[in-house]
Amino acid sequence: MFLQTIVNGLLLGALYAIVGMGLSIVFGTMRIVNFAHGQFVMAGMYITYTLFTAFGLDPYVSALVSFVLCFLLGMAVYRVAIHRIIRGPEMNHILLTAGIGLMLTNLAQMVYNTNQLTINLSYSHRDLVFGGLRINIAYLISFLIAAVVAALLFWFIMKTETGRAIRAISQNAAAAALSGIHVTRVTMLAFGLGIAVAGVAGTLLLPIHYVDPSVGDAFSLLAFIIVVLGGMGSILGSAIGGLLIGVIAQLASYYLGQSYSDVLTYVVFLLVLLFKPSGLLGRSRV
């Protein structure tokens, strides 16, 4: 049962990880305090829900649609709103993005009402059995997609020219501009990318969780915890942070009871910050 709980935790954690990874680029790397992150996850969920109910499109196919639509949405939001306050204090980021989040929440409420919507997939409650270990098919697919997204993201940030530019801007925007990087364009791209990953996270969550307009708040908080736990600016750290929180939550639920899973998650979060304030894989910034 211990092993089963760990496996379930890793499967759940992969979903947490992908929620966190999107924010890792936006907040961890670009230092935009995006408080609408959860609402973009919600947007991905609604996109997937709509495609499923209108065209019967399998959610794991619509992940790609979510990615593209949220990418465009993210870039537009950046260009229209966030770009204007990007050099301002963090308080402005919070106010602006919280406002964007509220707008998205209320927009969703206008279009979809506040009902909790779910989709029914033939395989969302089906298990594969490997020698006594049960693995839920929907979770397994989500896990694999999350792993691919994480790998691609890591490769993009570490190996490509644009990724290098993103890292350069995160270190010193002025110097990056001086060395010929188009700061506005690259920042917009990075923001779009982070939102796109949030959208994919939403898609992967829908087969196992309902969507309603208020679902985003919980994901925003979760994402910030994962990013800080994993270490600011480390995408790998966010992935590990997500997996860790998934495993802790499941272990707590199984051994102590469901209501302890949040308690233990926050205790571990505080302990990590206490002993390693820069997060698991964060560079020391002091």
Binding site: M1, Q4, T5, N8, L12, L15, R31, V33, F35, E90, M91, I94, A98, G101, L102, T105, N106, Q109, N113, T114, N115, Q116, T118, N120, S124, H125, R126, D127, R134, N136, S170, Q171, N172, A173, L205, I208, H209, Y210, D212, P213, S214, D217, A218, S220, L221, F224, V228, M232, Q250, S253, Y254, G257, Q258, S259, S261, L273, P277, S278, R285, V286
Partner: protein, 414 residues
């Protein structure tokens, strides 16, 4: 911008967290006129309409139940207006949405009193909201008819202005225990309940009655309806091998719990529930095969012996296309109770209506209504079982429309 210290970052996050909390309560719409509400004004004074205020959950997690209630109110409203209204006035209902939140429900009372000069309140839906509304209505000294909230504490605030139509979580637990005693083959029980007012009240009631009836409670689990996954919790239940599982759940969680019970092969002789999510009309189709054989304590069924029960069922189905459950019926009956009380009071006046309610004795399609000194109506509880996607009343024997079927293990179901 990169040389920030963690402490600064944390301060930012804390602020951000506060925003998240603030954000929770700010979405949603205000009043939604159900049947031509044009702003109400002073009800019962001069003009020929009487505006009554209803609080229910139009949006939010409990919206399925709010929708059911609204259907019940609307059918009653049509009938009452067709028959000449109340005190010779046509009735208008104004629906205030509590957004499935107790704070909002309390604010709705303020709005009904200040904007619509309400002298009586109908609703809300959930036990959490009901507790808030009852306390608030008491400060205004206007009566509140509680149609659906089952938590015991709703009538225990000491208010003289609360009148509850439905049976309580105690009655649910007792009915399930009676049925199990009659079956005779259950010894151990696990309780799985949501962690708000309804769930905790149902849990407390069952712990108490299980002891009285000699069932051993081997596991008692609580969860939040916002949780992503219940499998770890259900695994805990599985390890204890209970004969009976008693759920106290709202709608989406009830569906997820049964589907995940099937997924992890959690078997029990009896899957039982304190009505609610297991009784709502959409449950059999949403949970599909996983809903089969589940037993739910409930308050009413279209097969009930009281005149008007079947007619109500047909009317709701014809008007809205839905299959009404007891949530619809309780709202329907609540409006009739309000009508009777206002007419007996002879005036739209809170104190007089309260006194009329306290001594009220009437027959409704929901059964006879009479409130005791705490404002509680003695209403009989039934137990239904889902058989081939339909609710069949299996308990008590004088109300039963079918026989209780034994629950096969998941592996032996088709």
């Amino acid at each position: 911008m990169h040389n920030r210290r963690p402490a600064r970052m944390l301060a930012t996050l804390t602020l951000a967290g506060l925003f998240a909390l603030a954000g929770c309560g700010t979405s949603g719409s205000g009043a939604s006129g159900g049947s031509g509400n044009t702003g109400g004004g002073s009800a019962g004074s001069g003009d020929n309409t009487l505006t009554l205020g209803v609080i229910t959950s139009i949006t939010g997690a409990d919206s399925e139940f709010g929708k059911a209630q609204k259907e019940g109110y609307e059918v009653a409203l049509d009938e009452i207006n067709a028959a000449g209204g109340i005190l010779g006035k046509q009735v208008k209902l104004v629906y205030l949405d509590d957004k499935s939140s107790a704070q909002e429900a309390a604010k709705d009372v303020d709005q009904l009193v200040s904007q619509y000069h309400a002298q009586i309140i109908l609703g809300p839906y959930s036990s959490g909201s009901a507790l808030a509304v009852v306390k608030k209505a008491d400060t205004y000294k206007i009566p509140d008819i509680v149609p659906t909230a089952t938590a015991a504490n709703v009538t225990q605030t000491g208010s003289k202005y609360v009148f509850r139509l439905c049976a309580t979580s105690d009655d649910y637990a007792k009915a399930i225990c009676e049925l199990l005693k009659q079956q005779g083959d259950a010894k151990t029980m696990a309780i799985v309940h949501e962690d708000q007012n309804f769930g905790t009240s149902a849990d407390k009631a069952m712990v108490n009655y299980a002891k009285q009836y000699g069932f051993e409670v081997v596991d008692d689990e609580s969860y939040s309806t916002k949780d992503l996954d219940y499998k770890a919790m259900l695994q805990r239940v599985k390890q204890k091998h209970p004969d009976v599982i008693y759920f106290a759940s709202y709608s989406k969680d009830a569906v997820a719990l049964m589907k995940q019970a099937q997924e992890i092969d959690l078997n029990a002789k009896y899957f039982t529930a304190a009505g609610t999510g297991f009784s709502v009309g959409t449950f059999p189709q949403d949970a599909g095969p996983a809903a089969e054989y589940t037993l739910a304590a409930g308050q009413w069924d279209p097969s009930a012996k009281w005149p008007g029960a079947k007619e109500f069922y047909d009317k709701v189905h014809a008007k809205f296309g839905d299959y009404p459950s007891y949530h619809d019926m309780e709202a329907y009956a609540a409006l009739y109770v309000a009508k009777e009380a206002i007419e007996q009071a002879g005036a739209y006046d809170g104190q007089k209506i309260r006194d009329a309610l306290a001594s009220l004795q009437m027959e409704t399609a929901f059964g006879p209504v009479h409130f005791d000194s705490t404002g509680q109506n003695a209403h009989p509880v039934i137990v239904t079982q889902i058989q081939n996607g339909k609710f069949v009343t299996v308990f008590p024997s004088d109300a039963a429309t079918g026989k209780l079927l034994p629950t096969p293990p998941w592996s032996q179901r088709k």
